[in-house]
């Protein structure tokens, strides 16, 4: 236990925490994307799916019980992810003494350099997204319980669609670096599979981007209404 505490104190330990919390969040993102695709199978199916999430395990688990446990786990993962990012940023800032007059960026990707601010942007987006489609606070015509209606009305506005598309692009960048980085941090490195790590991250990041945008684009173009 003492050594686990020591690992957490080390720079690598905070990265492992970052990687594990990131994996939890990625798991949620995949599930969320698959759930959203159910919009395509119509109002009954989508609303029934939303109902299923609220009553998962009922009557063994109380109404919305599973959902709240799930939300608390996600919130915990977000907080750990952000806290370790903040601590790592602090150490790195104090490790650099003075800036170079001239710099050439030698990083592998644009995505890696925008992880920190990209993460802040994603956090702000998530706050907006919850106020928009979970609580309905900033929704123009929110009907509690009619998830399909709320979804379709929201994306009939091209401004909302554009905003979500930008947020998805930010997520795509974050995942592009994050999914590769997680293999690096957790030491999943093997000469045989190393060439696959980057392409797999690209395919997953793009898959999430496309998967999240298919339903709203179909709504905006009137195919789904």
């Amino acid at each position: 236990m003492r050594r686990v505490a020591k690992l957490y104190q080390s720079s690598v330990g905070k990265k492992i925490l970052m990687a594990l919390s990131g994996l939890i969040l990625f798991g949620f993102i995949v599930g969320h994307m698959v759930g959203n695709l159910k919009v395509l199978s119509g109002p009954e199916s989508f609303n029934a799916y939303a109902e299923f999430l609220r009553d998962f395990g009922y009557p063994l688990i109380p109404h919305e019980g599973f959902l709240w446990v799930f939300r608390i786990v996600l919130l915990g993962a977000v907080l750990l992810h952000a806290a370790s990012a903040f601590q790592l940023w602090g150490t790195s800032r104090s490790a650099r003494s003075g800036m170079y007059r001239k710099t050439v960026d030698l990083s592998f990707s644009y995505a890696s350099r925008t992880m920190r601010w990209g993460g802040v942007i994603l956090a702000l987006f998530v706050v907006y997204h919850i106020l928009h489609l979970t609580t309905g606070t900033v929704h123009v015509d929110f009907v509690a319980g009619d998830v399909y209606h709320n979804y379709v009305v929201a994306f009939q506005s091209p401004i909302i669609l554009g905003f979500y598309a930008v947020a998805q692009a930010a997520l795509c960048f974050h995942l592009y670096h994050g999914l590769w980085s997680v293999t690096q941090t957790l030491g999943a490195s093997h000469p045989k599979y190393n060439p696959l790590r980057r392409p797999v991250a690209v395919v997953l990041a793009l898959g999430i981007f496309v998967g999240f945008l298919i339903p709203p684009v179909l709504v905006a173009t009137g195919v789904v209404s």
């Binding site: 720079s11 905070k14 790592l88 190393n194």
Partner: protein, 254 residues
């Protein structure tokens, strides 16, 4: 060719430094970068000025003593090349060149372009050795080692400890150096007895020396004059994780 050099001048560790612009009017494309600085220094000495201090030793790219930021690139624009092996044909007549020391809290500037890299020595002291008697060079194949493992250990051992990885890293992390020094031993039978104690101890020293943390930017690999791969950092992370979960890393002999 004629060049305009902007060189970082700092007379002592605690003195505020600044850039001095020096004209280098007599530069041949065949000179190495350090020879160009030698010529500049001869000029400065002839004028009765203080020459530019910079580290150098073997001048054949194998000792890791030289190193400076050249137009924002550690060791200059050529890939896989240390500053001493960089030649002036990399530049054109009339170029302006900004020359700066490595900048990291763990590498304090001693004078001009010379930084104190003894933090690297302390990381090595923390575990970058084997404490068994290895004797003289053994007979070939007396200790069987898989070809891939030998190659990996050898590629890691190519690290010359110049500090370019720290200089290039946006986080001023020395993880690439530490990973190379951990893995060159972790991949060989002689390194096994202390494998897990070593990684714990070296990472601990890395952190306490004030280096930043690796966030997998990969700038180190691109800056490294020896082309050390960030795959070694993944290997280090794995060993560190294992060492943490182990009951007694000091008795983890394979």
């Amino acid at each position: 060719m004629k060049l305009k050099l902007h060189i970082w001048r700092q007379s002592a560790p605690d003195v505020r430094g600044g850039f001095e612009t020096i004209a280098a009017d007599n530069v041949s494309a065949h000179m190495s970068f350090l020879e160009m600085l030698d010529v500049v220094n001869e000029g400065l000495i002839a004028e009765g000025k203080e020459p530019v201090a910079f580290d150098h030793d073997c001048r054949e790219g194998i000792c890791g003593t030289c190193g400076m930021m050249i137009n924002g690139n550690p060791h200059g624009p050529w890939e896989g090349t240390s500053a001493c092996q960089l030649h002036m044909r990399a530049f054109q007549d009339g170029d302006e060149i900004w020359i700066e020391p490595w900048r990291a809290r763990a590498f304090p500037v001693l004078k001009d372009l010379v930084v104190d890299r003894s933090a690297f020595d302390r990381i090595i002291q923390a575990g970058g050795y084997v404490s068994i008697r290895t004797g003289s060079a053994p007979d070939a194949n007396a200790v069987p080692i898989g070809k891939e493992w030998a190659d990996e250990a050898f590629d890691a051992a190519a690290c010359i400890g110049c500090g370019a990885c720290v200089a290039a890293c946006p986080n001023a992390s020395a993880m690439l150096f530490t990973a190379a020094k951990v893995t060159q031993l972790a991949r060989l039978p002689q390194g096994q007895p202390e494998r897990y104690e070593r990684v714990l101890s070296m990472v601990d020293t890395h952190d306490s020396e004030g280096f930043g943390n690796c966030t997998n930017h990969g700038a180190c690999q691109n800056a490294c004059p020896k082309g050390i791969s960030v795959d070694y950092i993944a290997q280090l992370n794995r060993d560190l994780f294992k060492a943490t979960l182990m009951d007694r890393p000091d008795e983890a002999a394979v």
